[in-house]
């Protein structure tokens, strides 16, 4: 197991290096400069600014400089935010995104799994159709529509929760619900399909023949086996939830990463683009590793390569 994880960590570092390199060169292909007021700059001033930030050097030279700093742990400074270190920017923003993503993931998984299991157990009844309907709605309504409706009816009309902003636990409720709709739908659909399949398999029939209790079968035997595909999709989904959603953050004024990332790409804020990309890539790789390890825990039949009893 240790050896396996060690191997994976080395691959991770190589992957991150490749991602960093590719992103750097691709990003430099985007025309334009990171200067917000470029339209008002004279040619001389533009030249001076490019020189000041060493952006007039050839891209490979900039690349070597960036990678050297990166290895030293220096992520550079932001252009759009008056030379603020990128690490400070991300540090200030990641908390809200992570909390919101975590809550949405929990709510989404729990409700999704419950809906999926109920649907499977009550297959082809109105309960099943009802849960499927909820899942389809959750997947097909764009989040800005759902979040907008939620904000207007629950926030403005009913006044149950604050309409927007980020000042305490009650402020996280509506964005969490809005963000959880998608994971609920995904988890419910996968869970239902997989449960139906597992419930139809031989060992379940055997267990029923032995006279085992209905709920015992469902939860002891079927649920565990049906969880595998759900975990497979939820891993990457967790990363995208916890790194922030542009739409939800905009509508509920959440100080998260999603909006910052999109904006940095739009305004050529190079160091922010690099740092957020690397952060997302890193989380993604880590989550995939965790998912792989989880497989083994949930289903003993799956053994990790290189792992020995």
């Amino acid at each position: 197991m240790i050896k396996y994880i060690g191997q994976r960590v080395i691959y991770m570092i190589i992957t991150l290096f490749l991602i960093a390199s590719m992103t750097f060169f691709l990003m430099k292909l985007i025309p334009g400069t990171p200067f917000k007021n470029q339209a008002k700059m004279s040619d001389e001033q533009l030249e001076m600014m490019l020189d000041h930030y060493k952006l007039d050097e050839p891209v490979p030279v900039q690349y070597v400089a960036y990678m050297t700093n990166l290895v030293k742990g220096d992520l550079g400074t932001s252009y759009q935010f008056a030379n603020t270190p990128v690490s400070e920017l991300l540090g200030a923003r990641i908390g809200a995104s992570a909390l919101l993503g975590f809550q949405a993931l929990l709510v989404g998984t729990v409700f999704g799994i419950i809906l999926g299991v109920i649907g499977a157990l009550k297959q082809n009844t109105w309960i099943d159709y009802g849960t499927t309907f909820i899942a389809v709605i959750g997947k097909s309504i764009p989040s800005f529509v759902f979040a907008g409706l939620l904000q207007y009816y629950v926030g403005v009309k009913l006044g149950w929760f604050p309409v927007a902003f980020w000042k305490g636990p009650e402020y996280t409720v509506m964005p969490t619900i809005a963000l959880a709709m998608f994971p609920i739908a995904i988890a419910a659909r996968f869970m239902r399909t997989e449960m139906v399949e597992v419930l139809g398999s031989d060992y379940i029939t055997l267990a029923r023949a032995k006279g085992a209790n209905y709920f015992e079968i469902a939860f002891k035997h079927a649920l565990r086996n049906a969880l595998i595909p759900v975990i497979t999709v939820l891993g990457p989904l967790a990363v995208s939830l916890m790194t922030g959603s542009l739409v939800i953050e905009k509508i509920f004024s959440v100080p998260g990463l999603g909006e910052q990332f999109v904006k940095s790409v739009q305004v050529n804020d190079y160091s922010v683009i690099m740092a957020t990309t690397l952060l997302f890539a890193f989380l993604f790789i880590v989550v995939i590793l965790i998912v792989d390890i989880l497989y083994g825990l949930i289903d003993p039949r799956i053994r990790l390569a290189g792992g020995k009893k």
Partner: protein, 561 residues
């Protein structure tokens, strides 16, 4: 095995209970707050002079020499102060300057006497603070954008100092004593006192700035104030909320009514309107979406004003067809601007038939708006457009044309540009428009290299003078970028920059004359002049917006019951 099943169940229950706990309670305070607000109305002052304002962006910088965006300028304008300040009618009035300055005969030397004012740490604001800030703004190592941009050609030696050819001490600003500041200009600048209301020209406390070093202006603790308010909470550039409180040390504190302004960011117009409706905000950011604005039509809480920001189609004369004057005439007359502002934008914007915006600058003697004398110079006329078009095509010896149209990638840009494409193609038979919607930075880049045929671009001024629009179209000018060149135009604008600088009325008229030349040449196809729309609580009196530089001044505002 048993353990893992149990723990799974445990997690499920935990999550459920957490979620339920989060759902209940916690929201009652807000309801109470909104109920209190809606009590008896009248012009009596409210007991708590506290408001909540929404901004559409974070503050990228609170360092007055580095700031280059509206939110930053607005905050700096409210917590700091320069020689002049914009009043409620957009006029620059003496602030730290004790009355109007004395101006030399030739209009190039201004001497300001400073009033007694204090920094929030108790230091006196001196003339040296201005010298320090201005030198910092122009110095190469600061790499400020606005310093060189706004000082070049105005403050003596600014260009040379910025280029490193002259020492920073050679900049035309000098402290004659602690409370006397002498400014030397390159040439007479009629709008100079208005420039003094621009944050780049505000003073900075040298001792404080140097003591803080790299931490200066990083957050509220590393800031110092001399304006109507103090920033008491701001965690730095990533913060989405911050707070201003009344500065009791401010020289004019008795005329400041608000005691506290809470800021939040809200980047979605509908969400901002929702927060406003729910009583979570007294002022929204500028609302750009017609769908949101139309909900408030006729509502006194919707405040609309015309900005001096104008948009136009630039016609790149490097393109053979666009080098033809008749083709340019045809394009500039071929789209219905009234339909554009009334049906597409629906936000109070004006159809622009001119190059210098309306409601922006007045004749120095008659007080008439720039537009009064020149009027509409480029009105939509499909018939005439077609005539020019046929003539132009004949001159070029072709019967159809294909042109690239470069526009922005925001929702508004895309809708507007699609409309323009449709209009142009419908009214000019044989024309094919290839519309490209690209991000702002890409558009700038392609404008710079003139990699376009038609470009939808705009311009917003930083100071109240027609020159900010007129010098755009000089031959080879840094912003021309469409290869327009007219000896007559250059002559008029250059005379206004040079020998007429000391004759404000003649200078103004020369620039009006120049605008006529621009349209005789059909150099430009203006589209619209933008309007701003914000929601303002009906209890807030003295809400003051500005049309250049900082966006709002809260010094004049008060909250009624």
């Amino acid at each position: 095995m048993k353990k893992s099943k149990f723990s799974l169940l445990l997690v499920l229950t935990l999550v459920l209970s957490m979620f339920l706990a989060a759902c209940s309670g916690g929201d009652k305070k807000d309801e109470a707050a909104t109920d209190n607000d809606s009590d008896a109305k009248g012009s009596e002052l409210a007991e708590t002079q506290e408001i909540t304002v929404l901004e559409s962006a974070e503050i990228p910088s609170m360092d007055s020499v580095l700031a280059e965006d509206t939110v930053g300028f607005t905050m700096i304008n409210n917590v700091n102060e320069g020689l002049f300040r914009l009043d409620q009618e957009q006029n620059a009035v003496p602030a730290l300057s004790d009355g109007e300055p004395t101006v030399s005969e030739d209009g190039t030397v201004y001497t300001f006497k400073l009033r007694d004012a204090k920094w929030s740490n108790g230091d006196t604001v001196t003339a040296h603070d201005f010298v320090y800030a201005w030198q910092r703004a122009i110095g190469q190592e600061t790499a400020s954008f606005y310093g060189p941009y706004i000082m070049s050609g105005v403050i003596k030696n600014a260009v040379q100092v910025n280029a490193g050819e002259l020492d920073v001490n050679q900049l035309g600003v000098e402290a004659l004593s602690d409370n006397e500041l002498k400014v030397t200009l390159e040439k007479p600048v009629p709008y100079f006192t208005a420039l003094m209301a621009f944050p780049t020209f505000y003073p900075q406390n040298q001792k404080f700035v140097e003591e803080k070093g790299a931490d200066y202006a990083k957050n509220a603790e590393n800031l110092i104030f001399n304006g109507p308010f103090k920033m008491t909470k701001w965690d730095g550039v990533a913060a989405t909320e911050w707070t201003l409180e009344k500065n009791e040390e401010y020289w004019d504190a008795e005329n400041v009514t608000l005691t506290k302004i809470n800021y939040n960011t809200s980047k979605d117009p509908q969400a901002a309107a929702n927060a406003f409706e729910a009583g979570q905000a007294d002022v929204t950011p500028k609302l750009s979406t017609p769908a949101v604005i139309s909900q408030y039509e006729g509502d006194p809480r919707l405040v609309t004003w015309l900005e001096p920001t104008e948009f136009w189609l630039k016609l790149n004369q490097e393109n053979e067809a666009l080098a033809n004057k008749n083709i340019r005439f045809a394009i500039s007359l071929a789209f219905d601007k009234d339909a554009l502002v009334n049906d597409i934008l629906q936000n109070g914007s004006l159809a622009a038939n001119y190059a210098v915006p309306a409601g922006f600058v007045k004749h120095p003697e008659t007080g008439e708006d720039f537009r009064e004398a020149n009027g509409d110079m480029n009105t939509f006329d499909a018939e005439k457009a077609k005539e020019y078009w046929t003539k132009g095509l004949a001159e070029l010896g072709v019967d159809k044309l294909e042109l690239n149209f470069l526009g922005g990638d925001t929702e508004t840009s895309k809708t507007v540009d699609a409309f323009l494409k449709d209009q142009l193609q419908n009214n000019l038979p044989g024309l094919t428009i290839n519309l490209e919607s690209v991000p702002f930075s890409v558009r700038l880049d392609r404008e710079d290299t003139q990699d376009y045929d038609i470009l939808h671009a705009g311009w917003g001024p930083d100071y109240p003078d027609p020159m900010t629009y007129s010098d755009l179209w000089l031959t080879g000018g840094g912003h021309n970028k469409m290869s327009y060149s007219s000896a007559k135009y250059d002559e008029l604008v250059k005379s206004a920059q040079g020998e007429l600088a000391a004759k404000p009325a003649e200078r103004f008229e020369a620039l009006q004359e120049a605008e006529k030349v621009l349209f005789e040449d059909a150099a430009l196809a203006p589209t619209y002049q933008r309007a701003s729309n914000v929601l303002v609580s009906d209890k807030l009196e003295g809400f003051t917006y500005h049309i250049f530089g900082p966006e709002y001044s809260w010094k004049y505002a008060k909250l009624n019951k």
